[in-house]
């Protein structure tokens, strides 16, 4: 699974993208976040306040209960502030 991080999530995690082998048991965005948090301090800091994290799958905004699949591009970012 290709994972992207933007803004302060990128800074906490220390990279803007990575490709990870995510276990088959991870079916939803919520489960993916819980699994990532176990990977270390940077992830824990990035996802500490879950209400401030938005998610996109294959470049579409999604909710926490959206399904994730092996070859998806999943992006994590703060609420957007363009314009």
């Amino acid at each position: 699974m290709k994972l992207l991080y933007f803004a302060w999530l990128r800074q906490h995690i220390g990279r803007n993208e990575e490709t990870l082998d995510v276990p088959d048991s991870i079916a939803t965005v919520a489960q993916l976040i819980d699994w990532l948090i176990e990977r270390g301090e940077g992830y824990r800091a990035a996802f500490a306040d879950g209400t401030r994290v938005r998610v996109a799958i294959n470049q579409h905004h999604v909710d926490r209960d959206a399904r994730v699949r092996k070859f998806d591009e999943v992006a994590f970012f703060p609420p957007v502030t363009g314009g």
Binding site: L4, F6, A7, W8, A56, Q59, H61, A75, F77, P78, P79, V80, T81, G82, G83
Partner: protein, 151 residues
């Protein structure tokens, strides 16, 4: 006619209007919105504002908003130019143009585009001030502005 450009370079509103008009002869009304970098934030002078985005998704998300606007109003053209990278106070950030035969449709479409761009398009602003670097927080007033179109 929808034009979307995410770019580092500055833009020229006169040139963008000319481009939009060159594709449609019978335009009666054009509304523009230009967003600029302010000179202060949280009571401190602003040194720079850096815009990060999600390449690919940004263009797709803005296209979805623009297509939605085309369905709601009778439009002759839409242009969205959004800058990324490091900007200084009073530099231009974003330009939206909406062209229509009727002024109210152009006004509403431009406002709709800005309201949704603010809450849907994946851009993030980081401000550099004397006290350091600060990510800009999303404002609930922007969510409210977008929500009123769903009524």
């Amino acid at each position: 006619m929808i034009k979307i450009s995410i770019q580092r370079e500055d833009f020229d509103i006169g040139r963008e209007i000319a481009l939009l008009r060159s594709e449609h002869k019978s335009v009666g009304a054009i509304v523009s919105f230009t967003g600029l970098v302010r000179d202060s934030s949280h009571g401190e002078p602003l040194i720079t504002m850096t815009l990060e985005h999600y390449p690919g998704m940004t263009e797709r998300e803005i296209m979805r908003i623009a297509e939605n606007a085309h369905q709601r109003w009778n439009l002759d053209g839409l242009t969205v130019v959004h800058r990324i990278g490091e900007l200084h106070p009073s530099e231009q950030i974003v330009l939206v143009l909406a062209a229509s035969k009727h002024r109210n449709e152009a006004f509403e479409a431009a406002q709709f585009l800005m309201d949704y761009l603010k809450v849907r398009a994946p851009f993030w602003k980081m401000e550099k001030r004397a006290t350091g670097e600060h990510w800009v927080d999303a404002r609930s007033s922007d969510s409210d502005a977008a929500a009123r179109w769903e009524r």
